[in-house]
Symmetry: C2
Subunit: 391 residues, 2 copies
DNA sequence: CTTCTTTCATTGACAGCGGAAAATAAGGAG
DNA sequence: CTCCTTATTTTCCGCTGTCAATGAAAGAAG
């Protein structure tokens, strides 16, 4: 995290303290005893770690009138005061920048987006700065300081250094984005890969809470995958990880932009579906929405394309499950708008291709509004804020 | 680890101490300063942790006369005294039990194997006990105590509980192997999946030393894969992980015993190769060795089978690399005897199917004598011995 | 209304770990 | 013999987290 303005910093310097805070943050209001249990610490340690966090206003005490036990002293719940600090998350796509203002609990307070004219770093940075400025004004209105900015970009991103190594889509190489954005906005900046950012959000605030191993699969313009193993997001030795989109599903399948044939992405991405629906039906559909329309109208050719796409995704997920044995797979992404068209095929293909007990992993689906990508970016900023040695 | 005889235990109770010992164990003789650097600790901490380990005889000091620096005080090397404790590793296969006696550095001192008449737990346990008895006599001859027994079994094994959940090959279910073997042999017993055990051996004593993410791919009777992510062996939520053998490579390929088509294992396992070579050449080869013989003789049909097998393995490895971004992939296994027949195809398929920087992961090959499987089992015993919270 | 019982939370003493800095050791060079 | 350099050890010292004991906050029992 590149941090120019070292304002008052988060008062959890020991690993145990930040672990305790993280537990409360993601597992909702808990009694101190319960926190101790989940964090594997003594109750005394929790009491001691919680006090300064309460004094600093990051945690607050609550009494749960409802679930008062029949016997014994009632517990005091501890929860995070979301309003204590705000964060901005920014997702850069090819044609727009999406920004959200969230609270410390990563709840979206404001969402904005600005179309993007050009993709060169200067243009993007300028637009992003404008968006951040708008959100800062909103934050001012709330009277709460913004404690960090997270930026999510597709491609090979080095979070530790805050550098975008290579983003094919934006045609950026070795861009020190964190440093640049920190200079422009005056905020501490965290930069990460977009799918990993989304995965962080799921891990701390979503369907991955409490799990030590899970996968997030995004379906849309591309097919992406974020992996959490041993409780940590997998980053890969060379910045590559979770490339489920380029798992080969059918070596005789359509050619993929990566050069191979039959990648999941060449069969199930929005583009691939549009292309295949056009070929199958002869209708020149403009985008995935129209393609889904044809399928919803019952046009056989279009429905088959979705069936094949679902099959490809299901096989891809099965591959992940076979290799890593995640506790859960979370399917998400804009493509889920047409989820009814391939849900069954995903499930069938997964059930067939998963080996043995790997099939016991539960497959969840979550709608993913586009803002969520930006929320993921905010989640990385929150993570960096809480523990500077984040990862 | 099921431990009936709690003899004198290993004197490294803090996490740092066992981390220091592990560093010295796997990274060979090191100066204290170098240990400190690699373990991320201060020199003082290393000095303090090393002393009791030297007093207990697990570490010894060495002077490296050769590489004395021109300037300054020469360093004292610290290394593990392999002779301080012995371990027994046992690998159970369908038709034999292989056992090795190793020292603390996991060097094989004696290797034995006994054919197996039946596969039921009682028969296997009896034979294993016999083998262990023989190795204990060898150990007695050396005058060193055996500090642990590791057992490696294929299938779903719960190492923490020491229970074989389900081994399809042996037809065992929910067998508390660690407990049974501990009662029979009187030794502390660790039980793990065979491929994971091999992976532990590579991680601590082989080509995975010092890497935080790598994969071991075994080629032979089956196609297996052990994964290390974030420095830890991946176990999978339901005991399944690393099932590269059932990654689909060609949905139109040959049927696999798992019910699907075109799994790597259905194309590249010994059995699959024999079957395909028979079909391609009409020669009723008896085993993989004869099949390789035909290919070495230049018979086109046989060579093609190996080409396809290499292609399948290379694609499988590429899938792992795309998903996890390991720093290295170690190809190993009995099948490597015919490595010259498919090496190029593995490399080509990997280079083609790996996405972007994932192709930068280095692919190593290591011959794997059958004893190595048993050595892997011994490695798990050593691991358990060193840190009781092993995983 | 007092006392018990039960469970949650806090306190204070304390042990141990690991770091920083200073001291010591072990060479070679001059 | 002294100085310089690098390795190792020693000597504090602060900090963390545990333990065991104590306080607190109910409802239950009498």
């Amino acid at each position: 995290m590149s941090s120019p303005s070292a304002v008052e910093s988060f008062p959890a310097h020991t690993s145990a303290a930040s672990q305790i805070f993280t537990t409360v943050l993601s597992q909702g209001p808990l009694t101190r005893l319960e926190v101790a249990r989940r964090a594997g610490l003594s109750a005394a340690a929790v009491t001691k770690a919680v006090r300064p966090l309460i004094e600093a206003g990051y945690l607050v005490e609550d009494v749960d009138e409802d679930s008062r036990p029949a016997l014994g002293r009632p517990a005091n719940l501890v929860r995070v005061d979301g309003g204590r600090a705000l964060f901005i998350g920014v997702k850069v796509t090819g044609d727009a920048i999406i920004g959200v203002l969230t609270d410390l609990c990563c709840r979206i307070l404001v969402a904005r987006h600005i179309p993007l004219a050009a993709r060169d770093p200067k243009a993007v940075l300028g637009t992003a700065a404008e968006l951040v400025r708008e959100l800062l004004i909103e934050a001012d209105g709330l009277g709460v300081r913004v404690a960090g900015l997270g930026m999510a970009v597709s491609g090979d991103v080095d979070r530790a250094e805050g550098v975008v190594r290579y983003s094919p889509f934006l045609e950026w190489r070795e861009l020190p984005l964190a440093e640049l954005a920190a200079m422009t906005t005056g905020l501490p900046v965290t930069v990460d890969n977009d799918v990993r950012a989304l995965t962080v959000a799921e891990q701390w605030f979503g369907a991955g809470v409490g799990l030590s191993g899970f996968a997030v699969v995004t379906v849309g313009a591309g097919i992406g995958c974020g992996l959490v193993v041993h409780g940590r997001v997998v980053a890969g030795a060379h910045g590559v990880a979770g490339e489920i989109g380029h798992v080969t599903v059918d070596p005789a399948g359509p050619r993929c932009h990566c050069g191979n044939r039959g990648c999941v992405e060449a069969i199930a991405s929005d583009d691939a579906i549009v292309r295949q629906v056009r070929a199958a039906t002869g209708v020149q559909v403009a985008d995935a929405i129209e393609a889904a329309g044809l399928a919803h109208d019952g046009i056989a050719g279009a429905r088959e394309v979705y069936a094949r796409a679902g099959d490809a995704i299901g096989r891809g997920i099965a591959t992940v499950a076979n290799l890593l044995g995640p506790e859960r797979v979370i399917i998400s992404g804009e493509g889920l708008a047409a989820y009814d068209l391939f849900a069954d095929h995903i499930r069938d293909a997964f059930a067939t291709a998963a080996f043995g007990s790997a099939a016991r992993c539960d497959v969840w689906t979550r709608p993913l509004p586009f803002d969520e990508w930006a929320r993921g970016a905010a989640a990385t900023a929150i993570q960096s804020f809480i523990r500077s040695d984040a990862n």
